[in-house]
């Protein structure tokens, strides 16, 4: 039990719905209380599609046999459906309701047997990313079939699901670069994927994993079952992108010179990030500090690009994704001295307040803390609080140029000294041991406020040190 000023990850059902809504011909039935609805509203904002989200809500309470009837009704109402996936909300999971045995009618569209993906592994404590990952794996396991490898080299691209701004553009950018190498895209997963696409996955020569939060388990399964190699480097920044393209070249037996030609021409034409780095005077970056917090892929990919390609000091980097902690710490070591995992946005906010960086790269949950400290803020990690009409990738060489623009926008600003005099005094005020102990006892999300109030009060009193009494007084 903990007091939280916010949460990053949604429930497991949110992850399953994201995967289902990304794909085509898959209808999701959310077993939940009628008051747990929100998905259609959010989906509308992101997709701006003409059609509503392929999600039906099956209310838990009341009618026995309700789930069976609701699944059948959903299938009837959506004749395009080829598979039904079941997501259960926390309330449904906690109620201990069993998944019923259901035999579904044949798909009216293809005449094939319609399957129910039960997601029996769903647990109340599971986060949305882990659930999305497992849902995709279950879908792949259900539909994949042995295939001959395609004659010319192709790969599958596993990218982000819906709600990631620019997801569509991300896939297109990667397809463009692969096309330049002469490598086709066999299937892109999960955005726009059909069940036929899932069946044909083993035709490809390799799997490119852009967003491992969601595609990790599925590509591991394909590796074990069909011997398909996978490429897991985040395709962010020019260096990351080049790295992925070279591995694709090797796996697809392309001539090294050919890959190099593509990389060079793209570096010259599209990827403006290395240019931008070389145009900057060293003084412009001196003393500029960035912090990064968010998911796994973006925190790692952007951390590399910022620290290695631009030469910005990354004071710390972190992720909300506890289940990827080991991997994150391993990768983050390459670009920052301090890496950590936290699940409370308030903890991240108080770290931002302590560090006072020049640039904060994060999810929208970090925006307020960034603004409070006068730092520039780049909302480059999902989730975002805006779904722009222009889709811009962050992956690939085009993505590197997008990143260069974003950085230029914030680094061009003269270095802001946030209330410089105040800042000095604030830092100069020491805390007594006892006061610090008391401060530690205050819940994390209130600590920042308590600290500021106490420091303010101490300055009012002209005290040389913040004592336990001043802290008490300031809080009440």
């Amino acid at each position: 039990m903990r007091l939280a000023g916010g949460v990053y990850e949604g429930p497991a059902s949110h992850g399953i719905l994201q995967v289902a809504a990304s794909m085509r011909g898959i209808h999701a039935v959310l077993r939940a209380l009628p008051t747990e609805g929100y998905f259609p509203a959010l989906f509308g904002l992101w997709a701006k599609f003409e059609e509503p989200a392929p999600v039906s809500l099956s209310p838990i309470q009341g009618r026995p046999g309700g789930l069976r009837r609701d699944v059948e009704a959903a299938v009837r109402r959506n004749p395009e459906t080829e598979a039904v996936i079941l997501a259960r909300s926390d309330a449904a999971l906690l109620s201990g309701e069993e998944i019923p045995e259901l035999s579904l009618p044949d798909s009216p569209k293809t005449g094939r047997e319609m399957k129910l993906i039960g997601c029996g592994w769903e647990l109340p404590e599971m986060g949305e990313h882990e659930a999305a990952d497992l849902a995709l794996e279950e879908l792949v396991r259900t539909y994949v079939a042995p295939q001959e490898r395609s004659e010319t080299p192709t790969v599958n691209v596993f990218g982000p699901p819906v709600f990631k701004p620019g997801a569509e553009a991300e896939f297109e950018e990667v397809a463009r670069l692969l096309g330049m190498l002469g490598v086709g895209v066999n299937a892109r997963v999960p955005l726009g994927t059909t069940v036929e696409d899932l069946a044909r996955l083993p035709r490809a020569w390799a799997n490119v994993l852009l967003y491992r939060e969601v595609g990790d388990s599925a590509t591991r399964f394909l590796q074990e079952e069909f011997g398909m190699p996978r490429i897991t480097t985040p395709m962010i920044g020019s260096s990351g992108t080049g790295g992925v393209l070279r591995v694709v070249g090797e796996l697809c037996s392309l001539a090294e010179e050919k890959v190099q030609r593509v990389v060079f021409s793209e570096l010259a034409r599209t990827a403006k990030l290395p240019w931008y780095a070389r145009l900057q005077r060293p003084e412009a970056l001196a003393g500029r500090r960035a912090v990064i917090f968010g998911d796994f892929t973006h925190a790692v990919g952007l951390g590399h690009a910022l620290a290695r390609e631009i030469g910005l000091e990354v004071s710390w980097a972190g992720t909300y994704l506890k289940h990827l902690e080991q991997d994150f710490l391993f990768h983050a070591e390459a670009f920052t001295d301090r890496a950590f995992v936290a699940d409370d946005p308030e903890e991240v906010a108080s770290r931002i307040e302590r560090t006072r960086p020049d640039v904060v790269i994060g999810t929208y949950l970090e925006q307020r803390a960034a603004e409070n400290t006068g730092a520039s803020f780049l909302p480059l990690c999902p989730p975002a609080a805006a779904f722009p009409f222009v889709q811009r990738p962050l992956a690939g060489y085009s993505g590197a140029a997008v990143l260069a623009d974003a950085l230029d926008g914030v680094l061009r600003r003269p270095k802001v000294e946030a209330e410089p005099r105040l800042k000095e005094t604030e830092e100069a005020l020491p805390w007594s041991e006892e006061a610090l102990e008391d401060l530690e006892e205050i819940p994390a999300f209130l600590r920042g406020r308590a600290r500021r109030l106490a420091e303010e009060r101490a300055r009012e009193l002209g005290a040389a040190e913040i004592t336990r009494e001043i802290l008490e007084e300031a809080r009440f």
């Binding site: 039990m1 903990r2 007091l3 939280a4 000023g5 916010g6 949460v7 990053y8 990850e9 949604g10 429930p11 059902s13 949110h14 209380l33 009628p34 008051t35 747990e36 609805g37 929100y38 259609p40 509203a41 959010l42 989906f43 509308g44 904002l45 997709a47 701006k48 599609f49 003409e50 509503p52 989200a53 039906s56 809500l57 099956s58 209310p59 838990i60 009341g62 909300s89 926390d90 309330a91 906690l94 647990l123 109340p124 404590e125 986060g127 709600f163 929208y364 949950l365 307020r368 989730p383 975002a384 609080a385 205050i442 819940p443 999300f445 209130l446 406020r449 308590a450 809080r475 009440f476």
Partner: protein
């Protein structure tokens, strides 16, 4: 009027979605949600993604329960005390505990009693039952108001006989009404409490001024501006309900011994007139609003001309649909369908009766079915539920979000004007956009 129960799953946003906004309305109340991470996500993270407004009110936080962990009695109370300690300005704490908290072993009533004893502040559990059939997005507001009713100071008939203390609890409204009026005891005793949350403070002040005109004092609003300004509620008091979804809170007021008037909601011209008139009758006054209503209608004539004959479809979300539809029919619009996620026929008897015979009400509408009906009937404007808004706009329908009416201040005579203006602005904008050659 025909009522059709479609038994669909209504397209509403989770009531938890509005918790942060409610904290904004109650600056001296600490709201704590006790539930799973999923519920905290619905209340804290999704609103930012959907509305783009990223600010979270510090007076709202979530106590996230771990489903693996056994909750010990008193644990929740300790956390509540910890959280309240950070806010000296807080005068009451409301604990919102849903079904999952109960399933995970939280006894909300025990915890609030413990926290109240230790904090010395009123601490209440908000009765919020997410399993209730046919939920409205405004249900939590009702639960919070009824918890606040419980925080209201008690009153006895004897207290009413006494002159009010020099510095009363009635705050701004009391001062406004006290000015220039004869201070006779009789006038002071005609006091009413208004229950209503869906309009900003300005609309309530206007309504209080109308009541003042007929010699009735509004001693307070629930929720008004928070816990410290709540009026006394008890025997001998008269209360009037201004929002159609405040079922639990009006029951709570009745249970305190106050008299709750059953009348139309003060929404629209005729609704406001009936509301004022019925309050007057409750105090034995004759206050004919006929002339007042007639002159308001005359003033609204130019706006009415713009919406006369327009065909309007209510998809249903907030629970304000019935009175809004009633007013629009009065104003000359054609209401094709009123979707209501829930219809309490006895609570809304007056509204149902006033709606007239030509309007179809669909209870628990099925959103997909509604989309088909909207495509068939091509209304001039759809008051859309949150999930239908984007798909309907994409199909070329003119839409207004039901939530927009919660911000507009729809109560009272001036509110009637604002409702019409909201529609007229919608039409004007559509005409302006349509006139551009693309």
């Amino acid at each position: 009027m025909t009522v059709l129960d479609e038994s669909g799953v209504p397209d509403v946003l989770s009531p938890l979605y509005s918790l942060n906004g409610l904290a904004e309305k109650l600056p001296d109340v600490l709201l704590i949600l006790v539930g799973t991470r999923a519920e905290a996500y619905l209340a804290q993270t999704l609103p930012g993604m959907i509305s783009g407004d990223i600010s979270l009110n510090p007076h709202f936080s979530a106590l996230v329960l771990d489903p693996e962990e056994n909750v010990q009695q008193g644990q929740v109370a300790s956390r509540v005390i910890e959280a309240a300690a950070g806010f000296p300005e807080v005068t009451a704490v409301l604990l919102v505990a849903g079904r999952s908290a109960e399933l995970l072993g939280v006894d909300a009533n025990f915890e609030v009693q413990l926290a109240e004893r230790r904090l010395g502040l009123p601490v209440r559990a908000v009765d919020y039952d997410p399993a209730r059939d046919g939920a409205l997005s405004t249900d939590l507001e009702d639960g919070i108001l009824s918890a606040l009713v419980d925080v209201c100071p008690d009153t006895s008939p004897r207290m009413l006989e006494l002159p009010p203390p020099a510095k009363g609890r009635s705050g701004f409204i009391g001062n406004l009404l006290g000015r220039g009026r004869s201070e006779s005891r009789e006038v002071r005793r005609r006091q009413v409490v208004i229950l209503g949350a869906s309009s900003p403070p300005g609309a309530w002040r206007e309504l209080a001024a109308e009541l003042d005109q007929i010699g009735i004092e509004v001693v307070g609003n629930i929720p008004g501006t928070g816990a410290s300004g709540l009026p006394a509620v008890g025997q001998g008091m008269v209360a009037a309900v201004a929002d159609p979804y405040l079922i639990a809170s009006s029951r709570a007021v009745t249970e305190r011994g106050a008299r709750v008037l059953r009348t139309l909601m003060p929404i629209g011209v005729n609704g406001t007139a009936r509301f004022l008139q019925d309050i007057a009758i409750a105090f034995g006054l004759k206050a004919n609003q006929l002339n007042r209503a007639r002159s308001v209608w005359e003033n609204l004539e130019p706006l009415r001309n713009r919406i006369r004959g327009k065909r309007i479809f209510f998809a249903g979300d907030t629970g304000l649909e019935l009175p809004l539809a009633r007013f629009l029919v009065d104003a000359g619009a054609v209401v094709l369908e009123v979707g209501v996620p829930r219809l309490d026929r006895s609570f809304l008897a007056a509204e149902v009766q006033a709606l007239g015979t030509d309007v179809d009400v669909v209870e628990s509408p099925d959103p997909r079915g509604q989309m088909e009906r909207i495509d068939r009937s091509q209304p001039d404007v759809v008051v859309a539920s949150p999930g239908l808004y984007v798909p309907l706009v994409a199909r070329g329908h003119l839409c207004r979000l039901a939530l927009d009416f919660l911000e507009a201040g729809i109560h009272g005579y001036e509110g009637a004007r604002r409702i019409l203006e909201l529609f007229v602005r919608t039409f004007e904008r559509a005409e302006a956009l349509d006139s551009v050659k693309l």
